[in-house]
Amino acid sequence: MPDSSWQENRRKFLQAAGAAGIVGFAGCTGGDGTDTPTGAATDTDGMTERERTGGTLNFAQTSSPVELDPVNNNGGNYSIMLKNLVYSPVLGYDRNTNLVPILAEEVPTLDGNEFTLNLDPDARFHNGDQVTAEDVKYTFEATVEEGTSYSANFSVVDTIEVENDTTAHFTLTEPYVPILHAIAHQVVPKSVREEDTDAFGIDTFVGSGPFKVTEFEENDHVTMEGWDDYWGNGQPYLDEVTFTPINEPTNRVTQLQTGEQDVINRIPPQFWQTIQDMNDADVVSGPSLSYQFAAFNQNEGECAKRDVRLAIDHCVDLDQTIEQYIKPGGGRMYSPLPASVANAWDMPLDEWKNSWSEKDIDRAQELFEQAGVPDDWTCNIIVSSTEKRRQAAVSIANGIKEAGYDAQVQYLDFATMLDRFDSGDASQVNIYLLGWSRAPEPDRFMYELLHMDGAFQGQYYDNERFNELLEEARVTTEREQRREMYIEAINLFVEDRVHLPLYYTSVSMGVKNYVKDLKPHPVTTYNPYLFGDRNNKHADTEGSNVWIDR
């Protein structure tokens, strides 16, 4: 429960500070950490902390969280977005997608298959208890013991030895560099969760993040209050945030127009102009860490032939498709790595960009003939029910038809899609369109998706060298060596047309102009980025602290 006397004291302090003309702490006054965010981020010079503090922000999500327990993953991103505000993770990401310590004192260094994690001794849960190494161990082990979808992230962890309150020693079953991204995970208090596991995240919410849950009614609303006693640097300016799930975009936009919501999430392309035309609102957007692709079934069938894949690349003008159906809600991709990851790793993006073909139906027909594709071939394309992906699938099908072959697009629900995409059966699927979003680390976008043993691979690209590179890259600690391996692997990926990389989606929000300093974060689930980088005292990155200027 909120400590009202504490809150009162804080208000008095802030009023006094405001009267003395103290300007808000560094990191709260704008600036731009993302590559290409656009919109309403507003300079706030001259405002005092007192003037910024207070108010309720009403935020419309597209779907409701199901629970708020970081051990579980029910409700997907809609739950994680809120968990990120309530529970602090061990490590987090700044706006440039670099790993930064949050509960940790520093980003651990991997030594073979071991590393030591040091926690910030000041870190506290909402109930005042210290965040200990035992809590970290309990959280990660619970995901495995309870068989939640996070368990795959920690399956490589052999043992976690608690050395003292703030130190834990991790031993892995094998060297695995991306483990640091797996531990960028929120921590729960062992004693509280163990007391009533079922109630945790539904009725009980004790985290160590900058906001505390005060009400949670699934499918109706979640209310949080800024935690005045936050253990990191500074406290949130916002008194309260209310999240309301509104699935229908017309309804969300209407709620923004009427002022019932101050911020609405996920703006479909057709509504961008509507919001931009509002006098008192704008669209805030930036690229997200997503990769939407069309994958070729290379297990059997015509698409197992490289010439056919090259031909299909010649059949479709992806620039035009993306211009027409995806923008401004996203942009073209040329490799499996999102631009922010590729830039952070200094990858040769321009080279890859130039490797994809222009639309050339004559050349496509030549390649089809060269590959010996029978005239009556029908290309089976399957796609889940996302509107943008459907449009991309139809464009590919139309291109194949233009080249003289038949193509059928089947729209499947996600469960059926999961069941079918990796069947390898050419009578069911030649091309499948899916999307992928993971932590900003090349392995996360490459191994699971493209390696023959990857959990989410369905294209069966069985290139020995390619698989070898992905295996080596995940156990090599030297970053430059890893970079070279990924470049070689992606060169093979592009040459062999393993996928047609399609587009990324943007993080987009409709924001009232009186909401200040709200900027998009490339990690989708970090949005709304209300208390950026947790203003954590270890990371040398710009934070943000959203406030309301009524």
Binding site: V66, E67, N73, N74, G147, T148, S149, S151, A152, S155, D198, E218, N219, D220, T244, P245, I246, N247, E248, T250, N251, V253, T254, Q255, Q257, T258, E260, D413, F414, A415, T416, M417, L418, D419, R420, E448, A455, F456
Partner: protein, 332 residues
């Protein structure tokens, strides 16, 4: 046969119907590709994780065993546990049911109260401007999907005029403190009314249009009968003829269509609740299907089947009230 005996008999007859619905739904959802466990665990789940979770939820058992266990549980009043929500299905249905019932009652009240006068006036003013107008309204109502009507209402009354709330439904018993700007129960009820207007029109328009056309044609048929001509010949006023002699006799087909509209209204509630962000049974079903939550799909389908059976029974009983000549099992 008394109405009570007849009702009991019809309810007993509903048992094989509900059993049929249960069986068909059970085998159909199990024939669907994919599994709820895979959806729950996500795309990166390993085989071991899937096997372990399948065993935990009993999906590793043969289909007939699961069916047998499910039927036994249902007979014992247990609709199972929702995988997605982690709570009993019955609890979830009871939580959402009042919302959908309020929406249905409201939309049918709207539909009947508009359609019957409209149908009567159209019949009495046959081929006059008011009849043509009514026909156009009905055609639009029948041919426009309710989600589209909902979106138009939101754009006009929510977005542009900003006079009605477009999101959610305030229940009459919501605590006063939870309703913004409400100081008394009356304020809450006013908000309930305001939040009901657009969903009611969106859901009720189809019913209204269908009922008004049936009302019109039924009234026309009755007004053309000999006993009505005789009444006219005796100089009985037209309003009295309509009210006392024609109206009740014309309602049998209308009652039938109202009963049948219950099914389409339940289907329409799914879309209306989605558009207006109302947490009723409709959105629960959508969520159940999206997540392949078998127990929840079964529970909600069974419940909708039960509602339909009850609706049909009420229709039959209303017949007897309206027309004493209607017989049950040969008895007068």
């Amino acid at each position: 046969m008394s109405h009570l005996r007849y009702s009991v008999k019809r309810l007993l007859q509903a048992i094989p119907v509900l059993l049929g619905i249960t069986s068909i739904t059970f085998f159909l959802i199990n024939a669907m590709p994919g599994s709820p466990v895979e959806v729950m665990l996500g795309p990166t789940a390993t085989e071991e994780m899937i096997t372990e979770a399948s065993a935990r939820y009993g999906f590793d058992q043969p289909l007939y065993v699961r069916y047998y266990k499910y039927i036994l549980a249902v007979l014992g009043g247990d609709l199972g546990q929702s995988i997605h929500y982690g709570v009993p299905v019955t609890e979830k249905i009871l939580e959402r049911l009042p919302v959908t019932i309020l929406l249905l009652v409201s939309s049918f009240t709207f539909a009947i109260s508009v359609a019957i006068p409209l149908g009567i006036v159209s019949a009495r003013r046959r081929n006059q401007p008011i009849d043509h107008g009514s026909r156009v309204v009905s055609l639009i109502g029948v041919s426009t999907p309710n989600f589209w009507i909902g979106l138009l209402l939101i754009i006009v009354f929510g977005y542009h005029l900003q006079v009605l709330p477009s999101n959610g439904l305030v229940m009459p018993f919501t605590p006063i403190s939870e309703v913004g700007g409400a100081d008394s129960r009356l304020d809450v009820l006013v908000e309930t009314g305001r939040s009901l207007i657009m969903p009611t029109i969106a859901l009720g328009t189809l019913q209204m249009a269908a009922i008004s056309r049936i009302e019109r044609s039924s009234m026309l048929e009755v007004l053309g009968r000999d006993y009505i001509s005789l009444a006219r010949a005796f100089g009985v006023k037209e309003s009295v003829i309509t009210r006392k002699h024609a109206f009740r006799n014309a309602q049998l087909p209308v009652v039938t269509i109202i009963g049948l509209q219950l099914t389409s209204a339940l289907g329409g509630a799914v879309l209306t609740e989605t558009v207006f962000n109302i947490n009723g049974m409709g959105r629960l079903i959508i969520q159940a299907i999206r997540t392949q939550d078998y127990a929840l799909i079964m529970g909600t389908t069974l419940f909708f089947g039960f509602m339909f059976v009850v609706g049909t029974l009420l229709t039959d009983l209303t017949y007897a009230y309206l027309d004493p000549r209607v017989t049950y099992e040969g008895e007068q």
